[in-house]
Subunit: 315 residues, 2 copies
């Protein structure tokens, strides 16, 4: 692709991104920064590059005749993968910036579980000197459903706390902190003996309801399930049943089949379930701008862009 | 010291320690395992070695004419440091086994603070989809009051989560994860700009009330103080005042001047204060038995014992 380039920033944080990219003084690049699809189509129709939220970009795909490259500000790009949509451009997603944040979320809740932080807070409220012995992550078995950049970061934190770490992946075995890999039909063997199961798989047809009654039944009753991937990976009715019957000790969910989680959804009253509102890993604009800047320099240099999404595979 | 040795195990977990040491088949060692001082004096008076809790051992010191070495099962050995007590024996404490556990406690509460785990749990109870953006440890400044084996472990975990780490110590500067050291009169400079202050200093006359109104006033109002060292290091009235006035964002205390924390103590009603019941780092018998076994082999080999306590210095 040749200079000059015209970039449409289509994001709730468009002004912040425009400021950060202006600071980066990117050669040959002019910017149109808008927060909504209507403005985008009015002011940005000539743009060849787009940077922003997949849910917004989806609305303007047909109105961008010159489109060459979309850099998404999310890790999950499902809104752009609908087979009815065009796929004649390079799509790159946000990667490499969420591992640390996801790790803070996951290990915040793992440690809160081992240390009974909520129960101790209740004891304190009651004026009670609670000598209950704490648990420890050390020696516990962590199972990672998905070992991409996020899963691999989680593996590193698990090892830091002395955990044993297993991974279930499609094919990759490149994370040095995963001690044992499982693939395909190995799912029940992967689940056996886990203390914690953490899902960070992308939402694709292949991962739909991978956490189902069969997988949940293969977990020990002491296990806790954490979902920081996508809600579509979980059979929510099966998870609710496992928690209500005590066959699973707990679950921590940041993502759901429908978000916001609707009022009246059974999860609101399911025991031993932590619900958070898709806040595990917010996109910090400075990090995300850095991803765009690096990829823009690659574009100029004629190098392959990083974090390219395969439209067929879905990640 | 020559063979054979006779070991008095004086501990609430005496049977477990006796089992673990018997498994270790230590040459030339016979065991007397008791849980209380009276039994100890009746059955263990001839022992030359003692292994157990400092608070119990203190009660039998005068009844052990052959005493050569005490291996304490605690890191803090204050009960044995009273100047009125004998100090004609080698005293070693528990070290090297608490870093990981302390780190789980400290970072459990640091992450609970950044991620507002308690507030989000309350929102969930209210059926509220709480989109409050979480904080992150990354880039935050951690100040370690004391950089012994526990402080250095905390530094490593802080660096894992992308924190900047400072240490205040008497003299040592050997922890690779501490970026900047402060000593003696540098305490206000050490405190400046900290997001988290974590005390792991031993309880000695020199560390008494080191966390006082002056140090607390030097912290930013956003700072959170964590105490996993000793209660005697904190001026509790000054800490209460700082929390009540909002000059300090929060505190997490596992240790207190008086334990259990008495009913009616002002801390029970102080805002933004987490109270836990001296449970940050329980002594796991298998770990502690390992410390004894290693030191016993050193004793037999005529090597200096590890973790020797200086009665004057107090650690």
């Amino acid at each position: 692709m040749t200079l000059p380039h015209k970039l449409l920033i289509l994001s709730e944080q468009a002004q912040e991104y425009a400021r950060l990219l202006a600071e980066a003084s990117l050669p040959g690049l002019s910017l149109v920064a808008v927060t909504g699809p209507e403005q985008a189509l009015r002011r940005g129709a000539e743009c060849d590059l787009v940077f922003g939220e997949p849910s917004l970009i989806r609305e303007v795909l047909t109105g961008l005749p010159n489109l060459q490259w979309v850099q998404a500000t999310w890790a999950g790009v499902e809104p752009l993968l609908d087979p009815s949509l065009r796929c004649d451009y390079v799509l790159t997603n946000a990667r490499g910036i969420f591992g640390g944040l996801m790790s803070e979320y996951v290990f915040g809740y793992l440690l809160a579980h081992e240390r009974a932080i909520l129960a101790r807070a209740a004891a304190q409220q009651a004026g009670c000197w609670d000598r209950t012995e704490p648990g420890s992550l050390r020696g516990k078995l962590l199972g990672l459903l998905g070992v991409g950049s996020i899963g691999c970061y989680l593996a590193g934190t698990g090892r830091h706390f002395g955990m044993r770490v297993r991974g279930y992946t499609l094919s990759s075995e490149s994370c040095p902190d995963v001690e044992q890999y499982f693939h395909e039909a190995d799912l029940p063997a992967f689940a056996e003996g886990l203390d914690y199961l953490v899902n960070s798989l992308p939402g694709t047809p292949a991962t739909r309801h991978i956490v189902d009654a069969t997988l949940l039944a293969a977990l020990p009753a002491r296990a806790v399930f954490v979902n920081v991937g996508r809600g579509s990976s979980v059979d929510e009715a099966a998870l609710e049943a496992a928690l209500r019957s005590g066959k699973l000790a707990g679950a921590v969910l940041d993502v759901f089949e429908q978000e916001p989680l609707p009022p009246g959804h059974p999860f609101w009253s399911t025991p031993n379930l932590v619900i958070t509102a898709h806040v595990a890993a917010p996109t910090f604009p400075a990090d995300m701008a850095g991803v765009f800047v690096e990829n823009y320099h690659r574009l100029l240099a004629g190098e392959p862009l990083k974090y390219r999404v395969d439209f067929e595979r879905g990640y």
